[in-house]
Symmetry: C2
Subunit: 380 residues, 2 copies
Amino acid sequence: MISLSDNREEMLEIIGESFKRADIIIVTGGLGPTKDDITKDILGEFFHTGWRWDEQALQMIKDYYEVRKREPKEINLNQAYLPDECETLYNEWGSAPGMMFRKEGKLLVSLPGVPFEMSNMFEKFVLPEILKSFNPAQILKHHFLTINIPESILSEKLSDIEDYMPPFLKLAYLPNLNQVRLRLSCFTEGEPEAVKVFEHNIQKIRTFLGNAIVTEEDISFEEFLYNLMNKHKLTLSLAESCTGGFVSQKFTAIPGISTVYMGGLIAYSYDAKSDILGVNMEDIKHYGAVSKEVVIQMANGAKENFKSDFAVAISGIAGPDGGTPEKPVGTVWIAVSGPDGTISEVHHLPGSRIRVIEQTFNMALSMLRDEILKFITPLN
Amino acid sequence: MISLSDNREEMLEIIGESFKRADIIIVTGGLGPTKDDITKDILGEFFHTGWRWDEQALQMIKDYYEVRKREPKEINLNQAYLPDECETLYNEWGSAPGMMFRKEGKLLVSLPGVPFEMSNMFEKFVLPEILKSFNPAQILKHHFLTINIPESILSEKLSDIEDYMPPFLKLAYLPNLNQVRLRLSCFTEGEPEAVKVFEHNIQKIRTFLGNAIVTEEDISFEEFLYNLMNKHKLTLSLAESCTGGFVSQKFTAIPGISTVYMGGLIAYSYDAKSDILGVNMEDIKHYGAVSKEVVIQMANGAKENFKSDFAVAISGIAGPDGGTPEKPVGTVWIAVSGPDGTISEVHHLPGSRIRVIEQTFNMALSMLRDEILKFITPLN
């Protein structure tokens, strides 16, 4: 992947080099209406092509503006003026059409840089075209999301398995704080022997890691918890202090979460903790807001107020300021309240504000997972 | 910028090409302890160097594990085995040291790929070295963060100014939903004439854009609002439904926000809206949770419960499910309650769940800005 600036000479050089190296070239960005967007002109130049007005693109641009109750400007309409040789890729969500060029059995696709426009058009037009025209070899993949085992220990544990892996298998370690995602890839054209070896290695890794595996689906930790709680009809609420809504927005990014997630309180002030969650103000003053006593009451208060089965509460000092010698920056209390009671843990987390928040998120999810599993296991 | 996979031949080729093209090459990633991390070996091979044990790196790795109350494994200690020719860059936050190589007046730096380790070491070691050894030309930059004017209209408005700009000035448009950040860059070695032209153009753009400019600092919209509220000793609370904590976590990512932000409620369930925010349950049932009546009560309830000067409430349908013919996906009500009353607006936002959430965030901030400016203007 190469990123470069909107510079004519560099772009022509890199497109030329890419054509020598690759069969499929995907170019993103530089299709906007403004003067700094030059990709369309460069591609016209590269392919030595004439130009045309694309009537359908013109209509889509007009429709785009009509829906938004605005008049398209001349520079917007100009976005429908396209190189003669390209196939037009229509854009449902923006005014810039994409372009598909073919040359000597190779494919160059130009898409807008706006992420949701790009990914929509990629899935709709580009991926089907690649599958149809290039019939690519399949790469089989299997994921293991692990928790609370550092990458180096995982690697040491798995080295015996890795040493015996054939070259068409590849194990990648994708660490993210205290989560490590393992991705086992199998480069094959579907030979049964290769698939068998792949599956055998999946089984070996599974047996070896045991409980450390959160899920073998290619989903996030929070999606795993949502699926688990949804399946068992359990509900969740949150009381966040130092994470400030980070945990909540991770959960609410999951479509359909409203069957599980009842709501959350971001209790930044003492008053919010006391008035809304019912934390004893004397305890806040005596033990401090970042304390076992307060975080347990926050979890219990959230569970009660939001009428949920489980509640997670977080109170800590994310920094960069606010630390004291007894409670330095990175001190975080987490409590999980469930049908069978409330547990709490303190963590001392290194790093910047956002890193403390991200680690707290992972720790909280890990505690919540343990409590849910404890609760549902006898029911299974 | 080139990204490539952990493949020996490709890495050697790209490092060689980069050395021909550039004076400074920064390589990130591939320094972990596991078998798929090969950058250190490749660099040793590229520079034809011997190897050494770096005693100080060894000590840092041991300290790193001691703080975390773990034993370093052999593969961790091996991270202190470094190419002879490199200068070691010590890593405060991880176990992988960085490396700095010099060759024919050029510089190659290898840093860990973990973002916070990389950026810390870049600022501490690499940037000072570049400034010292290469004495780079300064690029002057000026930012304008604009709101509610589409990129194409901005561009048309500014085309007269752009047409008269000399080639050493460059105006970039960085759009993000209904925000556009304009960046005027001046490529100069400090000639007074160039600086004068740069400042003259800043003034022309400023006059032209007027009220559409949120801030000319290189900060986010939410940081601008925090600075504004903090300066005027105003406080904020939130009541979020469909944005699920997104707005809250954007604000709480700002260090020091607790002087302004009192807290927020994520009211996913009817009960939370009614019990905690005091929204009339009859109104929820009669008008629906996504309605003017409910969102106004949510804002008022948040302002009262969190004892803040301003409150923003959001209730909408982010999708992909939950829409109805009367209230399709993308329907979002936003209310801002301030010392002088409560206003509300409905928006119909296109796109995916996360896009609806992001657009809502921008709309809410824009409304909040207007209300704060109305309130403080007579005080100024």
